[in-house]
């Protein structure tokens, strides 16, 4: 008899429609497997811990409710990230529509949140460089480098074609490298 860990993502997704105990076990296991990456994605996309928490929570609630015995599931992580992405996009649209002027304090607080400790100066620079990129390039970079998704998975999450994904990832990396090259060279000296 299999332990819950031995089931594939797709099998677990199917179990969400079974008995209460199976459903709970399956959801807990899927949560354990994928919650860190979903949270990381939300945090990076929104850049704000509190907003990321809200979106993250909503993502898994919607995921659980989306379990439908008629739905054919082939890629659970991509499905989760697609849900998260849609919520993030809508969240930011809503925020843009309702929010006018951002106070200086709020802006500085959001900048502080993005900073890392002294040893992570490179990370700070990467973060800053990412902010200079167009949104679509930034998103592709995050999904590739932070989430480790393949190009086809990224295409599924962002609803783009694979060619666009390839081009945007390449351009995002080139841009970030261009910005960070002098710094990386300095690091190499030591």
């Amino acid at each position: 008899m299999k332990t819950i860990e031995e089931y594939s993502d797709e099998e677990l997704f199917y179990m969400l429609n079974q008995s209460k105990e199976q459903s709970e076990n399956a959801f807990s296991e899927l949560y354990r497997r994928h919650s860190p990456r979903v949270f990381a994605y939300c945090k990076r996309y929104l850049g704000n811990q509190e907003e990321a928490k809200d979106v993250f929570q909503e993502t898994f609630i919607r995921f659980y409710k989306s379990a439908d015995k008629n739905r054919v599931m082939t890629n659970v992580p991509a499905f989760l990230l697609r849900i998260a992405r849609n919520i993030c996009v809508n969240f930011l649209k809503q925020k843009k529509n309702t929010q006018g002027h951002v106070s200086y304090e709020d802006y500085m607080a959001s900048q502080e949140e993005k900073k890392y400790s002294g040893d992570d100066e490179l990370l700070n620079l990467i973060n800053t460089a990412l902010d200079t990129l167009p949104e679509k390039y930034k998103e592709m970079f995050i999904l590739r480098e932070y989430e480790g998704l393949s190009y086809s998975d990224i295409a599924e999450v962002t609803e783009e074609n694979v060619s666009n994904v390839k081009i945007r990832i390449h351009r995002a990396k080139q841009k970030i490298r261009e910005i960070l090259e002098p710094y990386i060279k300095e690091l190499d000296k030591f």
Binding site: E24, N25, P36, V38, Q57, D120, I126, S150, I169, H170
Partner: protein, 404 residues
């Protein structure tokens, strides 16, 4: 794009690093990379960026409150997946043997030598009877009216008298009382429903699981919890003075289920007012989770005052003390057993002497709603071992806890 040249080498590099380069082109690209210093430099830079990003990726763990919110919203028990992965085919004793041995070893290492445990007067647990009492306890909660807190002690005294407590008797099912001005507060099993009358709000049975780790609710768990009246900010500031053990690291080779169990049983703050055979204990506990590979730390303190500690034969002793305990580290040995060593000091007012108390809390969660607890304590002044546990008929741990 099948041929590698100066113009497209960089694009090939991106595909190569992302594992998306067609396998038929890999060999050719690697040859180009070996002979192209500029491409090597670009590869090195992108690798440095990737390594920095990967370092950051490992740090992002979902906050516990988000996990709790999700599972609470969906009405799901987070520990259900843990119980389902328990090994099949091992007997209960096989599963318990290693954790029990490990917990005893941990207690010895942490608190010093234990000579032994006096179980001379321990009777086996009548679990059926306990469950019945718990069920009646829960149903009584639904109907009992609110009674002010100041009536609690009077109610307990009334209970003790009504149950015909006898003095100086080592009767396993009795409570003990002194006729002089020192008073021992003990509950016995049959008096539980009456003590429970002193709840501030009734609890719904179906909310027990949801309320277990969420603040501001009442839970019945052989102890009664009632809602706090005030937020915990002040308490947290006070408690931060007592945080210890944060830099300690214990790794007993937990497997994934055990780590999940630790995380899922994370309780931020809990406080309590507990009455037991040692008197009244006001306690506060704060859990701090560090990294997934370490145990979570339970740090807290309890202040207690009372009288009539027992010797090994449970004869009533005439002393009054006031003291405090500091809980050390909660050590979940497996998803079956947890051990929390504690150390405390107290001052015995009767003999005007300090005493040092070492003990360990043994917790065996039997289900998501009920927990059996055991506590073994060595009193340096009296040179006695005392055991308090809910599986024994000797003592019952009943009290009121505040969760916030």
């Amino acid at each position: 794009m099948n041929e590698i040249n100066q113009n497209n080498a960089s694009e090939f590099l991106t595909l190569y690093m992302d594992g998306e380069l067609d396998s038929s082109l890999v060999e050719g690209f690697e040859a180009e990379l070996a002979n192209n210093p500029e491409l090597q430099s670009e590869y090195s830079d992108l690798l440095a960026i990737r390594e920095a990003v990967q370092k950051d990726v490992k740090k992002l763990i979902p906050p516990y409150e988000s996990t709790a919110t999700i599972f609470e919203s969906l009405g799901i028990s987070y520990t259900s997946s843990i119980s389902s992965t328990t090994s099949v085919g091992m007997s209960v004793w096989q599963q318990l043997f290693v954790p029990i041995m490990a917990s005893l070893s941990a207690a010895i290492v942490t608190v010093g030598a234990y000579v032994g445990i006096d179980i001379e007067n321990t009777n086996p647990v009548d679990q059926n009877r306990e469950l019945t009492q718990k069920e009646s306890l829960v149903s009584s909660l639904k109907t009992q009216p609110v009674i002010a807190e100041e009536n609690i002690n009077e109610e307990i005294d009334e209970n003790i008298q009504q149950n015909n407590i006898s003095e100086n008797k080592s009767d396993n099912n009795s409570t003990f009382i002194k006729s002089n001005n020192s008073r021992n507060i003990i509950s016995n099993r049959s008096s539980i429903p009456k003590i429970i009358k002193n709840i501030v709000e009734p609890v719904q049975e179906q909310n027990i699981e949801q309320n277990r780790t969420i603040a501001k609710n009442i839970i019945v768990n052989d102890e009664v919890f009632f809602s706090p009246l005030y937020p915990s900010n002040i308490i947290e500031k006070t408690i931060s003075m007592f945080n210890i053990g944060q830099s300690s690291k214990f790794d007993f080779g937990y497997n994934k289920q055990q780590l999940e169990y630790i995380n899922s049983n994370f309780k931020r703050n809990s406080g309590g007012l507990i009455f037991n055979q040692s008197g009244a204990r006001l306690s506060y506990t704060r859990n701090i989770i560090s990294e997934n590979k370490l145990t979570h730390y339970i740090t807290g303190f309890s202040l207690n005052a009372g009288s009539n500690l027992f010797n090994n034969n449970f004869a009533v002793l005439d002393n009054i003390y006031i003291g405090g305990d500091i809980l050390l580290v909660e050590l979940p040995i497996s998803n079956i057993i947890k051990v929390t060593p504690l150390a405390g000091v107290a001052y015995d007012l009767t003999s005007s002497s300090p005493l040092f108390r070492l003990g360990t809390n043994l917790e065996i969660p039997t289900s998501s709603a009920w927990t059996f607890e055991g506590r073994i304590e060595y009193n340096s002044l009296l040179k006695t071992y005392n055991s308090y546990d809910q599986m024994s008929i000797i003592t019952g741990l009943v009290g009121i806890k505040i969760k916030f």
